[in-house]
Symmetry: C2
Subunit: 394 residues, 2 copies
């Protein structure tokens, strides 16, 4: 099972390069199922057309529209393979049998039929499946939301019990820290799935949380590789797989964070607020109970206007106050050994003090230690912690 | 039943204009099913990508690719209608149930299911169907070839027994002659379907023959209108509909014609040649038996290289000679009264003589009189004949 993202199939030339690479896999004796995203920029172009017509378009129709992007790219890749003499067949979600729920634009896969896939594979075909999309029980086209093509690949790999699900992207693996922030960043050959899940949800954009969750649930060996240079990439593995893992995996950095502090808000209103967050897919982090009827949480700045609208709405029913702190960043140390090792916390506190960086909040869970602080302190702290915790491993 | 072509939905602004027009039809109390083509230029863009990869791409995959164009446009039109408060739903061929044979890129519709269409209409939805495409019995996407969206509209109109199938295009109807050739051209309010079929096959590009054939077989009232200015357009009607029709319908002019003369070709080879033409969709006209083992026929210059290749191939088996005459044009007078009225032939012969235009060949069938002549004589002859036969009606 291989999956190629939008930049990997962004032009006819890139599609030919992917086809070339696939023929090598086939010559090596593998049966191949490939999941492909829309050509880079295509989904945005299509959604742009929709938004020119309506700023809040029907989600059923948006999914119908967006799904056409993958339909084009799978056909083009099939054409490139057939030209090379390799029998290939492109399949849409309904032709494979990828059933989802009916939550347009963020559907979840319910089941994957394997009959047609096996039938094509047994005929010696390279099977190319449109990523990102499914059909609900009524036959409507649905899409799986951000990172949806990865989820498609993982779901197919699970259904077919594939040896490995290889996600080809424009980076060559998972790094210990964002190389743009810290030049000492190194690639992780192995990452445990729990840490990977934390890294993904903390903004390491290589894989979307949902595909990692799906892979973990079905124990699909997941490998992230570059489609531009051949290498081993990073393999995501599971507890009990007998792998020896380092105690700390990496550091995730997330800019553009804001912190909200709500005062005098009843628990009934708190409940309502978070129900609305769930409905509107607003993701919050670092939730903290600050006192009686006083809570704080972080979120990405892009969600701030939605959240403030909600606060205004609720406060109109039953008054409460809120404060917004902007210009923040979140740094998170991730790994199975985080909580077990108080030295990690000690190092973080020491470095914060050295930088005179007063954190807005800190939180430590089983495998993650997060600090919310002013964005201007992020780079220095990240570099120091990466050196101390991941390179020198004190 | 309404159908909008590619230029009618070429931009988000045009799509909004179509939506606006549809809301008027709905407010007038009609239930509406709309068939939409891909946005102008989109199909060519997609096919261009395919041809960058392979000059002779797999037709199954080409159909998969091309069909994505209509998928985008139906979703965009639905979004524009929903924005205006009109419940609309876009449907693909498999969602409607449009079954075709499996001849990729030139499939024929075998059946249209109406259950889903009626169900949506009864719920008060405007139903938007992707034109040009179907599914074969195995669930592969097929396309209907040139003019395919018109065929979709006619097939749906027939299945639903619609009052009228309205084809909105960038012209406002069927004309007595190409207005670019003759300034006296006038719009025909009524055209009988036989004449329309001849006009279409003779190169009046407004409707494709296949859609007219389909309409005639199922007696679907077909109207051609402009999507840019409101008017009555041209209605295609059927014999026995009690309409009073003029004896001559119009004059069709086709440039870029060539004439082939084959000498010393056995009837066995003639048969082989025309079987190959059928297989490769080469259209010939004005076939004439010129003598023993000697035939002549006309065709469009764009097919010449294919035909010459075939001749070379066959002549290698059993030698024969051929001559090619280029720089020709075909003028055809069409109408139910053509053969019944020898005066038409007399006028044509007289005008040819006046122009000293020696025709390569002439042929007269029940409702059509065709002349093949040098292209430089076309405009003068067309103008004179239009004046004499269609305006003065001598």
């Amino acid at each position: 099972m291989q999956k190629f993202g939008g930049t990997s199939v962004g032009t006819p030339e890139r599609i030919e390069a992917v086809a070339e690479q696939l023929t090598e896999t086939v010559r090596a004796g593998h049966k191949v199922v490939v999941v492909v995203s829309a050509m880079a920029g295509e989904t945005n172009r299509l959604l742009g057309l929709a938004h020119q017509i309506d700023s809040r378009p029907s989600t059923r129709e948006l999914d119908m529209l967006a799904a056409s992007g993958e339909q084009a790219s799978i056909a083009l890749l099939a054409i490139a393979l057939i030209k090379r003499g390799y029998p290939a067949v492109s399949l849409l979600a309904d032709q494979v049998g990828i059933l989802t729920d009916n939550k347009f634009s963020r559907a979840r896969i319910l089941s994957v039929a394997t009959e047609r896939l096996w039938q094509e594979l047994e005929q010696g075909h390279i099977v190319i499946v449109a990523g990102f999309q499914g059909r609900d029980i009524e036959g409507n086209i649905t899409t799986l939301g951000r990172g949806g093509s990865d989820t498609t690949a993982v779901a197919l790999a699970a259904a077919l019990k594939a040896d490995e699900c290889q996600i080809f992207t424009d980076v060559d693996g998972i790094y210990s820290i964002d190389p743009r922030i810290c030049s000492g960043a190194f690639r992780l050959p192995l990452v445990d799935s729990d840490s990977m899940l934390e890294l993904a949800s903390l903004g390491a954009k290589v894989l979307h949380s949902r595909s990692i969750e799906y892979a973990a649930t079905h124990q699909v060996p997941l490998r992230v590789l570059s489609s531009f240079k051949p290498d081993q990439g990073s393999l995501i593995c599971y507890q009990g797989a007998g792998m020896s893992l380092p105690k700390l995996t990496g550091i995730a950095c997330q800019k553009d964070e804001v912190w909200l502090q709500l005062t005098g808000i009843s628990s009934a209103l708190q409940t309502q607020l978070f129900k609305e967050f769930a409905r509107q897919s607003v993701e919050t982090d670092l939730f903290t109970l600050l006192g009686p009827q006083q809570i704080g949480f972080s979120l990405n700045r892009s969600d701030l206007s939605v959240v403030e609208d909600l606060c205004r709405e609720l406060a109109a029913k039953q008054s409460f106050d809120w404060l917004v702190f902007t210009g923040l960043a979140k740094l998170s140390i991730v790994g199975v050994g985080v909580k077990a090792n108080p030295a990690v916390m000690a190092v973080v506190l020491e470095q914060l003090q050295a930088l005179a960086a007063d954190p807005v909040t800190m939180q430590c869970s089983e495998i993650k230690l997060s600090v919310l602080l002013l964005e201007r302190h992020l780079a220095s702290l990240a570099n120091e912690l990466h050196r101390l915790l991941l390179i020198e491993e004190i």
